[in-house]
């Protein structure tokens, strides 16, 4: 089955065009908006956006593949990001990563079988004074340790 944009998303894509001088410029925001619901960007989605804004799909794809936060494969419901920046390295992010990885039984880049979590590294979250740091979806967690990071994960639906 094709994954299509819903009405709200179509409207968003059209509205975004107004903010910029050329249609390509709206692509990142539109992709991110659609991704919020669908969790990833399929070729169908790109084709549909391409039709709406009259930008070749190859162009949309070249933008989509450049950025870290546009997912070209299905991801889980919750994105767990651990900071692997230099300060978090000094403060021992590896322990955190390992314990999360073990708890979820996945490696970075993978998604749990129940599609609940995807684990990925992220560079410095600008929270180095409260390092180590993890981010789950849009929430930032400071000064995490081995126990607290598991607690946080368990509280997530």
């Amino acid at each position: 089955m094709k994954i299509m944009l819903n009405k709200v998303e179509k409207k968003f894509v059209i509205e975004e065009l107004k903010k910029y001088k050329n249609p390509e410029a709206s692509v990142v925001e539109s992709l991110k908006f659609v991704q919020k619901r669908l969790r990833w960007i399929s070729l169908d989605v790109m084709n549909e956006i391409s039709r709406i804004i009259s930008v070749p799909v190859s162009k949309i794809e070249s933008i989509a593949t450049f950025y870290n936060h546009i997912f070209r494969k299905p991801v889980g419901k919750n994105i767990v990001k651990y900071c692997d920046g230099v300060v978090c390295y000094i403060n021992g992010y590896k322990k955190i990563k390992n314990v999360i990885s073990k708890h979820l039984k996945i490696k970075p880049g993978q998604t749990t079988k129940d599609n609940k979590f995807t684990l990925i590294p992220i560079c410095c979250l600008g929270n180095c004074n409260n390092s180590p740091t993890i981010m789950i979806n849009e929430n930032l967690f400071s000064n995490v340790n081995i126990t607290s990071s598991i607690d946080i994960l368990e509280r997530i639906k």
Binding site: E29, F66, H69, V87, I90, N91, N129, N130
Partner: protein, 447 residues
């Protein structure tokens, strides 16, 4: 108590309004503390050119890492001939340099200070549109800025005919999608236009032909946040608050295994040791400082003996590094330098935009060598090869400043901690270099 801790308007133009309860300063609070006064004053009494000359005179340098004089940068923007001509002011809020958290701090705690800075700067260069290019992960900053923009619009600080001055400005927030290179000003422009964010060839410079081929100025969050105070109190005052040639104050700080990691607004010329000891409380018990990075991951590593240098653009440069973002990182005795560099270079290799060969190929290559050294299976010749890579990625060898920044910590690390690199070499292992002359061993997958 050290008097730097007593914040006031004269000594802490950026942070004096910050409250102790860790909340964002609301528009009401901001206005009560002389907020938007500079804007009202400038729109009434100063011409755009006069604003530029005050900022030029203040000698404010860009706080994003480059250190270019802001007033000079504004001066490069051609003067507007007719009112329909578009000029853009872009606020670079794509903070991603590992170890840096100053822009997020400013946006979250003082969103209106940044907005006032943007409006004043836009007025100076006569820009009618401004985009805040914000890092995707800064969700809280986004919410706060969106709210603040609406509040400012209501008060007629943003929009059409601002405070009846005839000046129009729209401010948009554009969030990135996670690429460090978007912080480079021409890559940022490409990204905004929806192109792949590779840096652009200069010339033409953005000031002549930037966003949508129109004159464009890109300024960092901290830079823009300095403008209101300069307009309100004058350039002479601004020059006097610093201890040396670099004028004004700078957000500086320390993180790592220090007692109180954080950032503080400090005058240029303060010693790094003072920041570490007086503000960050020194190293945590049981640790001592082995090395430090003065201003983020892309600045050359320095040893403990450099702690007494003064924190300003020139002194840090003369010490063989860069002030960068000014937010320092303490590296303690438990950290292995080779592993640390492996971490730093992993970041840079991952984030290279891939446009030019030395950077695209050189960084992964350096990673491979560093990994071998880390695993103690390095080969004789590896360190020399790392040095060669550093040279080939140095200033002028690549398209943009990303590559020189990427190798500067490595270059200094080899200089100061060569033994740690040597420890990673297995002298008894096979060394293909002996067999095939002229081919570096790391070129070959297996031996």
């Amino acid at each position: 108590m050290n008097n730097y801790f007593h914040k006031n308007e004269e000594t802490h133009p950026l942070t004096w309004r910050i409250n102790n309860y860790k909340e964002s300063v609301s528009i009401g609070e901001y206005e009560n503390k002389r907020g938007y006064l500079a804007l009202k004053f400038a729109l009434k009494n100063l011409s755009p050119n006069e604003v530029i000359s005050i900022v030029k005179d203040s000698k404010l340098k860009g706080r994003g890492g480059g250190g270019f004089l802001t007033g000079e940068k504004w001066n490069l923007i051609p003067k507007k001939k007719n009112s329909c001509e578009d000029i853009y002011l872009l606020c670079n809020a794509d903070e991603m340099e590992p170890g840096t958290y100053k822009d997020r701090f400013l946006m979250e705690r003082l969103p209106h200070l940044l907005l006032e800075g943007i409006i004043l700067s836009a007025y100076a260069i006569q820009a009618s549109f401004s985009y805040i290019f914000l890092r995707e992960e800064y969700y809280l900053s986004k919410t706060l800025l969106e709210k603040s923009i609406l509040e400012a619009k209501k008060k007629k600080y943003i929009g059409k005919n601002i405070l009846n001055s005839g000046f129009n400005l729209e401010i948009f927030i554009h969030t990135g999608a996670g690429r460090y290179i978007c912080g480079e000003e021409t890559a940022l422009i490409n990204s905004l236009e929806g192109k792949r964010p590779n840096p652009r060839t200069k010339p033409p410079f953005p000031s002549q032909s930037g966003l949508w081929n129109k004159p464009t100025c890109v300024n960092n969050v901290e830079t823009l946040s300095n403008i209101p105070a300069i307009i309100l109190n004058g350039s002479k005052w601004y020059k006097n608050i610093s201890k040396n040639d670099d004028t004004g104050t700078k957000l500086m700080g320390f993180s790592g295994k220090v007692k109180k990691p954080g950032i503080w607004e400090l005058p240029f010329g303060i010693k790094a040791r003072e920041i570490l000891e007086d503000y960050a409380g020194g190293m945590k018990d049981g640790y001592y400082l082995k090395a430090w990075l003065p201003g983020g991951s892309g600045t050359g590593i320095l040893t403990e003996s450099y702690l007494d240098i003064s924190m300003d653009f020139k002194s840090v440069y003369l010490a063989g590094s860069r002030l960068g973002t000014g937010i320092s990182i303490a590296i303690d005795n438990e950290i292995n330098i080779v592993s640390l560099l492996f971490n730093i270079e992993t970041f840079f290799a991952r984030e290279s935009c891939g446009w030019c060969t030395p950077c695209r190929e050189g960084l992964p290559w350096s990673l491979k060598i560093l990994q071998d050294l880390k695993n103690k299976i390095g080969k004789p010749g590896d360190i020399e090869m790392l040095e060669k890579i550093c040279k080939n990625l140095d200033v002028g060898k690549t398209f943009c400043a990303f590559a020189p920044g990427a190798v500067s910590p490595l270059y200094n690390a080899i200089k100061y901690f060569r033994e740690e690199f040597e420890n990673g070499i297995d002298f008894n292992g096979p060394n293909i270099k002996n067999k095939i002359f002229g081919i570096q061993s790391n070129n070959l997958n297996s031996i």
